[in-house]
């Protein structure tokens, strides 16, 4: 029975074209209803390729009550699987959307801060005209993860984000902190620091701190 189920999913999802995918959406049982008599089957079979002959095995329509119930149960189970998968995909999509567009997500802050750094003349003096921004490097050579720390001080939520900068003239880091005040995330500070050379040069772009 299990093998049968997988075969059904496989054929409906991967092997057949849009017409049968549509049939899948409206119920797998319709595949079986579509051929009433042997003559129709024979006529239809003329258009099938050898590969389809071998791979697509049509089942007989169940005639008994138990068989019909089993068929319905199987279809319901498939629908539940599809609905669950769609829900799971929706959850992931939501988190992805939030990562890109939420005010307090590290990616969003990184993106906005990098724009500020790029439009700053002093930063262009320090690093060069084209500044590359990236996060922490993993062992696989990916640098997408931006280091961040969320904490709470004096009853206000804060998030500090640190990322790396690299230009033609030099490298450095940028540290940003945002604070949630009256429901709005505002910059607390934003500064860049060169890396490597001594002494380090610090250039402060934004400083809204208050003791």
């Amino acid at each position: 029975m299990g093998c049968n189920l997988y075969h059904k999913i496989f054929t409906t999802l991967f092997l057949v074209g849009p017409t049968t995918s549509r049939r899948f959406l409206f119920g797998t049982a319709k595949i079986l209803q579509s051929r009433k008599s042997d003559g129709q089957v024979a006529q239809k079979d003329q258009h099938r390729s050898i590969l389809e002959e071998v791979l697509i095995k049509e089942q007989q329509k169940p005639t008994t009550f138990a068989g019909k119930t089993a068929e319905k149960a199987q279809n319901t189970f498939l629908y539940v699987i599809v609905a669950g998968s769609i829900g799971l995909l929706g959850t992931f999509a939501y988190f992805l959307f939030e990562e890109f567009f939420a005010q307090d997500s590290p990616q969003y802050i990184f993106s906005k801060a990098l724009d500020l750094v790029r439009s700053d003349y002093r930063c262009a003096d320090l690093f060069g005209n084209t500044i590359k921004g990236f996060g922490e490097e993993t062992s696989r050579g990916r640098r997408r993860h931006v280091a961040h720390h969320k904490y709470e001080k004096d009853g206000n939520e804060r998030i500090r984000v640190k990322f790396h900068l690299k230009g033609d003239l030099g490298e450095g880091t940028c540290q940003v902190e945002k604070e949630k005040k009256d429901g709005e995330w505002i910059y607390r500070f934003l500064f860049v620091e060169t890396k490597g050379g001594h002494p380090r040069t610090t250039h402060i772009l934004i400083d809204n701190r208050e003791e």
Binding site: F134, G141, R142, R143, R158, Q175, F189, F191, R209, E210
Partner: protein, 186 residues
Amino acid sequence: MEEYTREPCPYRIGDDIGSAFAMGLVGGSIFRAFSGFKNSANGQKMVGMVREVRMKSPLTGVQFAAWGGMFSTIDCCLVAIRKKEDPFNSITSGALTGGLLAIRSGPRVMAGSALLGGIILAMIEGVGLVTARWMGSMMDPTSQPPEALEDPRALPPAKLPSEPGLSQAPNEAAPFGLPGLNMNTA
């Protein structure tokens, strides 16, 4: 002394091709072993299985390697063009890879394949985000809340809270390290 790590980008393509091939080889071996066992004649199950694995799983590996290499190349190109590394790069390159690898099947298949590639990569990013978010709390539910950070030392001391109607100018001109607050209120 200055540079301990080199830029990952052009070299990462080779790494990705290799790891994708290994992944495809292992996964392909498992699946081909099942299908080989099922499709061989009785009495020759083991031989058929080994032959199937030997002949077919490197092909799966090569397909994976093509995907991985193409993906990594496009990812590196996007990094070079956008000068920025974020999840958007990998989603775009997933879609482009899907489309470009199906280029011989015509525009319709390309569009579908590109959509599928983009969705798969977006979901991988989404899974990564979800696990990164939930792992911390699931590992140790009794953990302390994140500690408050001090301001970085690179910054000058924070200015005093501004009062309405008072200029900040005498504040900053306080001589001999006298607290600015006294000067202000005097």
